[in-house]
Symmetry: C2
Subunit: 232 residues, 2 copies
DNA sequence: CCATCGCCAAGAGCAGTGCTCTCGGAAGTT
DNA sequence: AACTTCCGAGAGCACTGCTCTTGGCGATGG
């Protein structure tokens, strides 16, 4: 029957859920390299080989955690954006920046798994691509809507973008239609700038140098907003 | 005698050198997590326990590689800067940016060890601090000398930096005397921006999105130079 | 209702890891 | 020549990811 089969499937799904939950807890305390299938099995009162019924390899478990992580940061970013007045574009940008940083500080090991050095030998499967673009889509929407509302006027400090990046810009424009190549390039600049400063804070480059990190971050993001020409 | 003692010391130093060389080769091919003391020992025809006479733990070997890595990128940056006319500040900035990116692309695993996710449980000892600031010192010098030469005029796009970061700015000013808090904040922005884009390129965030990476990088760095007000 | 098939936990086992300990020999010191 | 120090070798511990086999339990089909 379908019912019984779904019962089987249900307990299976629940076990998978429990495995990822325990794995995420381990990831949070030990870090990615300390994630051990055997330890997860021990925590569940199972034998290590049983785990392999649900995750064929450690990398598959990592993939599940990565997908969860991208979705978590994506959701946090979407919520932060949604909580802002639609026409406060600078506010929306700052809100999503704070959301990213706060989530990163709260889940440093998960963040490192997403945006840090890739695990050697690990090739991100296609399943991770879609969740990985959730936050980026929000950024793109903010820029696109600000542009459409006429609230985007980039100050003329940048040189003209080279023609070589026109093709890439065309692809990126899927996220933010109608903006110029110059704006696309600036968007990439502030996008990488956001994650660059979060990386430096989390990965230790600010140690012994910068102490008022929240204030610096806030100011930095405001400057990047001004750099791309967000007004208000 | 001193001579014999130094003979002992010399063969010891040579062995340490050989260990780090082999370890660096392994790091380049396998990545940090694939670095194995036993494999290094095998490559040297030693038994694994003998390695511990020279490096008390795997982390100590990692530390040696990290120090070497910081010095390598520091030297590359210094050379790139030194090859430029002293008063071509924009050119110097772009040259060091390219040097960082080229080195990162040539030594991805070493770069990841320096600027990627920290190895869990690994605490960078004080020995790594000084080498880690070699590249930063070059950046600071470029900004400072441009300011002194009157060739630094930041466009007025940024809000005023908050007073909270004044203390940090004072510390950073050791690298670039006499500049304003605003310039310090912008310097941090372009500094994190440089490594942010290199991180994204190396760690896979540009995959399936950006193909003309050298051109985008070049343009991006030129924009950051304009952002901090480098003229010429 | 019974036989069958498929899923799954358990255990043993392999090859590898970091690291510790002991032992014996060689090199340097007095 | 005796002694101390250093160092390589080997065995061993606890751990890892992963594979294979075994046996049982539950769902399925006749």
């Amino acid at each position: 029957m379908n019912a019984s089969r779904t019962a089987r499937e249900r307990v299976r799904a629940e076990l998978i859920q429990e495995i990822t939950t325990i794995a995420r807890r381990q990831l949070a305390t030990e870090g990615a390299s300390g994630l051990s299938l055997r330890a997860v099995a021990r925590d569940m009162g199972m034998v290590s080989s049983a785990i392999y019924r649900y995750f064929p390899s450690r990398d598959d478990l990592l993939t599940a955690l990565i997908v969860d992580g991208y979705n978590a940061v994506g959701e946090v970013v979407e919520r932060a954006d949604a909580a802002c007045p639609r026409d406060d574009f600078t506010g929306r940008w700052l809100a999503v920046c704070r959301a990213v940083r706060d989530w990163a500080l709260a889940h440093p090991h998960e963040y490192a798994l997403l945006y840090g050095s890739p695990v050697p030998g690990y090739q991100a499967p296609v399943d991770t691509i879609a969740p990985a673009t959730r936050d980026t889509a929000v950024f793109g929407a903010i820029i696109a809507e600000a542009h459409r509302a006429g609230r985007l006027s980039p100050p003329p400090v940048c040189p003209e973008p080279p023609v070589a990046i026109a093709a890439d810009a065309e692809a990126v424009r899927a996220l933010m239609p109608d903006v110029s190549d110059d704006v696309v390039a600036r968007a990439i600049t502030i996008w990488t700038g956001l994650y660059g400063i979060v990386n430096f804070e989390l990965f230790g480059q600010f140690d012994n140098v910068i102490t008022h990190r929240a204030e610096l971050f806030e100011h930095n993001m405001a400057c990047l907003a001004a750099f791309i020409g967000l007004t208000g």
